[in-house]
Symmetry: C2
Subunit: 269 residues, 2 copies
Amino acid sequence: MKIKVAKCAGFCFGVKRAINIAENALKGLKGEEKIYSLGAIIHNPQVVDGLFKKGLQVISELEAIKLGTVIISSHGAPVEVLKDIKKKKIKFIDATCPFVKYAQNIVKGLKKDGYRIIIVGDSAHPEVKALKSIAGKDKLSDKIGVISQTTQNKADYINEIKKILEEDFCEVKIFNTICNDTSKRQSATRGLLKDCDLMIVIGGKNSANTRRLWQICKESGVDSFHIETELELKKKWFEGRDCVGITSGASTPDSTVKRAVDKIKKIIN
Amino acid sequence: MKIKVAKCAGFCFGVKRAINIAENALKGLKGEEKIYSLGAIIHNPQVVDGLFKKGLQVISELEAIKLGTVIISSHGAPVEVLKDIKKKKIKFIDATCPFVKYAQNIVKGLKKDGYRIIIVGDSAHPEVKALKSIAGKDKLSDKIGVISQTTQNKADYINEIKKILEEDFCEVKIFNTICNDTSKRQSATRGLLKDCDLMIVIGGKNSANTRRLWQICKESGVDSFHIETELELKKKWFEGRDCVGITSGASTPDSTVKRAVDKIKKIIN
């Protein structure tokens, strides 16, 4: 049985940057000060756990902060929360991914120009929550601006737009805010699906981009499993397979992928 | 057998306006002066023929003009031709449909803002030729602006856009430049198709919007015929039918539709 690992693996630019920001902040800690992350800094429980051991505390409310600095996660934070941070004069470091920032700036511009704004994505995801807060209340307009979560699946994106276009509209402005890393990972995964009869998708269960890779795999009809670590691998998945493909999300460490590959090699030999 | 006539019939706003402009110009003719139309003023040969009898000469080249005034047709004219008219100091009246003008202005704006411009329509149609001349040479850009011929079929329009969206893009700005009259006529035609087992589409064979109505009819699977006048109707088309639907283009006179209905009544009785 062959094992094929997707060429796009390892942390994406935004995840690497957020982790660096956190690690540098932790190195500079003085006295009673603490470093907090407002929500998971990236969507990989094992990485978040590693940072917690180094001193990074995940909080969901600003009220939990005593003395110290709060890091805005790679997904960004809602306008109201940022206002609150400034009002309360809490020290903060912004680890918002620059690609997410780019999408946020587009929303700001569309709002200013009187567009009705449509965001294609998971409404419960922190990135989308932040984008929604920038867009503000829905206002009727004959001009429609469409953007998507940076980790959206392109096919879904196009279908959403098609629905809008089929309605009456005067002007639709569409921005491709799916980040390069997401596009490349999706393409690499689709490439593997041509050759493989089993797919293992590795990454946080809460990771939007990983879940989309899994969705693409499942929709192709190839048997696919989503795991966070090698501990979840089951021997029976591999019985009678010719080729197993391995793909991973933007917040999955290389080391996690390597451990999974090693475990699979043991299982099949 | 029932006869159902689409609720949207008669000249559209732009056609009515162009005919009025021509008739008023013809009324004011003095001495040796002549009134010319640069291409068919509207796409209905019978109407153009009627205007010719009143003195309107259709020309394809500015060189054909002696003393007199040229009318720019409802479909607009290419930038180069308009420049030539001004350079040669030829008197002219602009009968370009305001909805076509609106599309032209959008193209001007997109060009100014550095968008790559995509026009969905028949490249040989005078409206599209004029729009293309405004867009100028194709320039590479990561911003794409999409507009359509005012008489485009919405489904085609959306499919073209989908193709563009499936490619890599940074920003796509889409304008719904299909005019209201076209949309309404297409909807009314689709409504008739539900009840009828035969469709008669009346209008110029060179009329883009009429041809699109015919296309919609044919694609529905209902037997459909495109005629310009009642003289083309054939008895055998009506044999064994339950309900005949009649729809007509934006440049088809009410009187032509009426004559066709009268002829059909005679055929089936």
